[in-house]
């Protein structure tokens, strides 16, 4: 395999040039600026990484590069020149012809972008055939070639499957094939790997990079993950509040970021906490086996000990049974066999059998604060309910405690009359934390609590959780697939794979080699800031494969 470094690719003439772009979005009955005067230029064969927190306008700029504004958005000012053509001046029909044939788009959620009722192959060649670029037969042959180049398994037949019959990572690659089918000059990738597990992410990143290099396609790569953008982009542009903060070649940006904001972005991943061994255990899980609808075993013989006042990180990819474990502990799913003891007493298996006081002592925080907060309840209602329900607080005493809790989560009391829809993602997650804290719990189960948040907000939430642990001695079970989060918060680690515990122990023990094979795969798949990381990793894995074959 020819593996050229992305930094050394040949670049051609100027392909895309955006000048002084302004985009507005309509919400709360008025127009708000989303992008405020961004300049951007891209040469043929160049990959530009757009990075920033959510609301920075990354995706909007990505779409604007195709001359497109989402419904409810409008481009108010600026010019977009694509290969010398003014995209904003031309008719919508002409623009549409350009999209799909010369400019393509790969969305964040491939699962939501494919039509579940049609086969992958038909969808891959749809634009080619519709634009009359090739006959259906020729397009089909070409699509299979693309599948092969993208390292999809069974490239000859995978196209005949339906979207739900392939995995998320394969679907994301199929979508890249769809974008590539017309051999566009420019592809816009909008967070294509954000929804994937780390182990899958590596494969998709490698495939995307390879094919973009082979066809010398220019690309705009939108992401909030610095380590990913370091692997993919020749040049990085940091955005904030719709403005450009900084723009530089990848290596230069990584080595010496010029702006403070960029440096804070860089610093996030360096959060780390020294582990503290625990004296006694709060929760002991013994040989739990659990299954849904009495059939497929999702957890097999799982035993975990949770130390008091410490954090256990449960790590694994999706489908490893992490969330099922949380359901068993909370009593939502009663195990087939095994037992759980909490603070020295055996926990009843189902929710109904558990007394109110036990329910109070085990609380849960969810991944998506949007779904975990009732959209019709104000912040005050959300936080005061557990106080009233568990502790019988009413009136002034309740109000006072709500105030204290708001103070603990570092939010102002003016937020109390807000509905969840009027809060940012980080604020919503803080409210969820306050709701859990209101019950004075001993154990909080955190199910991927930071994975839906931006990196800077993630760091704030993690810091908050750590501070609360120090102050109140609460134990955490921290379910996550992100190793950086584990480093930041865990004392102990449990690695899970396909419903079984692969390894468990203190953080340093697990994170220092030698690793169990699965732990090795998981750890090595976590992107690092080094722009050569992906290249090196692929070489190492290739060597091992060749070594194993010999």
């Amino acid at each position: 395999m020819k593996s050229k470094n992305s930094g050394q690719r040949e670049k051609g003439t100027k392909l895309l040039s955006i000048r002084d772009l302004y985009v507005e979005g309509f919400s709360d009955e008025r127009w708000h600026p989303i992008v405020r005067g961004v300049d951007l230029s891209l040469k043929r064969g160049e990959v530009l990484g757009l990075i920033g927190e959510s609301g920075a306008g990354k995706s909007t700029i990505g779409l604007a590069a195709m001359g497109y504004a989402k419904p409810g958005c409008r481009i108010t000012q600026g010019s977009i020149l694509f290969d010398g053509i003014d995209l904003l001046a031309m008719a919508e029909t002409a623009r549409r012809r350009l999209r799909g044939s010369r400019i393509a788009y790969v969305a964040q959620s491939a699962a939501a972008s494919f039509n579940p009722a049609h086969r992958l192959l038909d969808q891959t060649v749809e634009t080619v055939v519709a634009h009359g670029i090739a006959s259906r037969e020729a397009a089909n042959r070409d699509a299979i070639k693309l599948y092969r180049r993208l390292h999809l398994p069974d490239p000859d037949t995978i196209g005949f499957r339906y979207p739900h019959q392939v995995s998320g990572g394969q679907l994301q690659r199929a979508m890249t094939a769809m974008a590539m089918a017309c051999r566009p000059d420019l592809i816009v990738f909008d967070e294509p790997t954000t929804a994937l597990d780390v182990t899958t992410q590596v494969e998709v990143l490698a495939s995307i990079r390879k094919i973009v290099e082979e066809f010398n396609t220019a690309a705009i790569y939108v992401t909030h993950d610095l380590a990913v953008v370091a692997q993919m982009a020749d040049r990085i542009m940091v955005l904030r509040h719709g403005r450009t903060v900084e723009e530089a070649e990848t290596r230069q940006m990584l080595a010496a970021p010029a702006e403070d904001y960029t440096r804070t972005l860089w610093a996030v991943r360096k959060l780390a906490k020294p582990e503290v061994p625990a004296a006694d255990h709060l929760l002991t899980i013994d040989n739990i086996t659990a299954a849904y609808a009495g059939k497929v075993k999702v957890l097999q013989d799982v035993s975990i000990k949770v130390p008091r006042g410490r954090t256990v990180a449960v790590v694994g990819e999706s489908g490893s049974g992490k969330s099922t474990l949380a359901r068993v502990i909370t009593g939502l799913l009663s195990p087939v066999s095994g037992s759980i003891s909490f603070a020295g007493h055996r926990l009843p298996r189902t929710l109904k059998e558990r007394p109110k006081d036990i329910l109070r002592r085990i609380q849960m925080i969810y991944q998506m604060p949007d779904n975990a907060l009732n959209p019709r309840q104000t912040v005050e209602e959300v936080i005061s309910r557990p106080l009233e329900f568990y502790l019988g607080l009413k009136g002034a005493a309740c109000d006072r405690r709500v105030g204290e809790l708001m103070h603990m989560i570092e939010m102002d009391e003016s937020f109390l009359d807000r509905l969840p829809g009027e809060l940012s993602g980080g604020q919503k997650q803080r409210i969820c934390i306050a709701r859990a804290l209101a019950a004075n719990p001993e154990l909080i189960i955190c199910d991927e609590v930071t994975s839906a948040l931006d990196q800077i907000v993630q760091e704030e939430i993690l810091k908050l959780l750590m501070r609360l642990q120090q102050e109140f001695g609460v134990s955490y079970i921290f379910i996550t697939h992100d190793i950086a989060t584990v480093r930041a918060i865990a004392d102990e680690i449990v690695v899970m794979h396909q419903g079984k515990v692969v390894e468990q122990g203190l953080k340093t023990e697990i994170l220092t080699p030698p690793h169990a094979p699965y732990t090795e795969l998981l750890l090595s798949s976590v992107p690092e800031m080094d722009p050569d990381w992906l290249t090196k990793l692929l070489e190492t894995r290739e060597r091992k494969r060749v070594g194993a074959a010999n």
Partner: protein, 294 residues
């Protein structure tokens, strides 16, 4: 907390539910305003019927089928009763009964529908299949049959139509309830140990209210039309109680003489139905988050 969050907190004014409603009303289109005004007018007339009406509800004058005049603004009916008076009392009876019926059908349908959505399993199966059976019989014919069995009293009219209509409400409530019952905030409430009553009324109901309120408006129209239809067929509201459906039937012959009097109660029915639909349309549009592209 970052500084941006503070900025957001200050720049946005506090919004209470009352002020939300006020801003929504301010932006309501003309059709919605028209609907609201008409409905309020009807309610006003219905509530104050004895004071507004020029004569008594069953007061009979000597002249039957009197033409429009100073004394009888829109004439008298087949027995010599003032039509305007009957129209005003008709508003009270028809709307009142329709409203009570709709309310009852929603109380039954929403409660059972949300319970089915919350517990699923066998409860859902039993309720849904019973509803399927009830819905498989054409409702007007079913209503006619039940009314002839139990007699056409106002009570049995309300109960029968409410029962038949609650099947449709059940279906809607169950469908929208299912979407909400699987949300994590409902799970969070279960984990907290909340009882079914709290989960039903505080967690699920507020989130399914917009489609239910919209449906309430539409159901109200249908109930209203059903009552009018039953009255027209002679098994609805019984004389001498005034209602618009039977008024159309009793004076229908006048139309052959070029007198438009029987069209007045029909027009009253039509106007109210259209107005309710205007308001429902606007409400649905405002709460569903649908937005015209601008």
């Amino acid at each position: 907390m970052t500084s941006t969050e503070h900025v957001v907190a200050v720049s946005r004014q506090r919004r209470t539910r009352a002020s939300r409603v006020k801003t929504a009303l301010k932006k309501a289109p003309f059709s919605a305003w028209f609907g609201i005004v008409v409905i309020l007018g009807y309610v006003f007339v219905a509530l104050l019927a004895p004071w507004i009406a020029p004569y008594g509800e069953t007061q009979v004058f000597t002249e039957a089928f009197a033409p429009w005049s100073q004394q009888f603004i829109v004439g008298t009916d087949q027995l010599g009763r003032d039509v305007l008076t009957r129209l005003i009392y008709g508003a009270r009876n028809t709307i009142g009964i329709a409203f009570a019926t709709t309310l009852l059908s929603f109380a039954v349908g929403v409660t059972l529908g949300l319970l089915a959505a919350m517990y699923r399993g066998w409860l859902d199966q039993i309720l849904s299949r019973v509803v399927d059976v009830l819905m498989s019989i054409p409702s007007l014919i079913f209503a006619l049959m039940l009314l002839s069995i139990f007699g056409s009293s106002v009570t049995s009219l309300i109960l029968i139509i409410a029962l038949l209509d609650s099947t449709r409400v059940f279906r809607l409530a169950r469908a929208v309830g299912l979407n909400v019952a699987v949300m994590e905030y409902v799970e969070a409430a279960q984990l907290r140990g909340e009882g079914p009553r709290w989960i039903l009324t505080k967690e699920i109901l507020p989130n399914v209210l917009p489609p239910l309120i919209a449906e309430f408006g539409l159901r109200f129209c249908f109930v209203f039309l059903t009552i009018a239809a039953l009255s027209f067929l002679g098994v609805g509201i019984q004389p001498p109680t005034a209602d618009w459906g039977s008024m159309v039937r009793e004076n229908a012959t006048l139309i052959t003489y070029g007198d438009i009097t029987p069209l007045l109660p029909a027009g009253a029915i039509a106007l109210l139905t259209v107005s309710v639909n205007f308001v429902v349309d606007w409400f649905l549009h405002a709460t569903s988050g649908l937005r015209d592209e601008k």
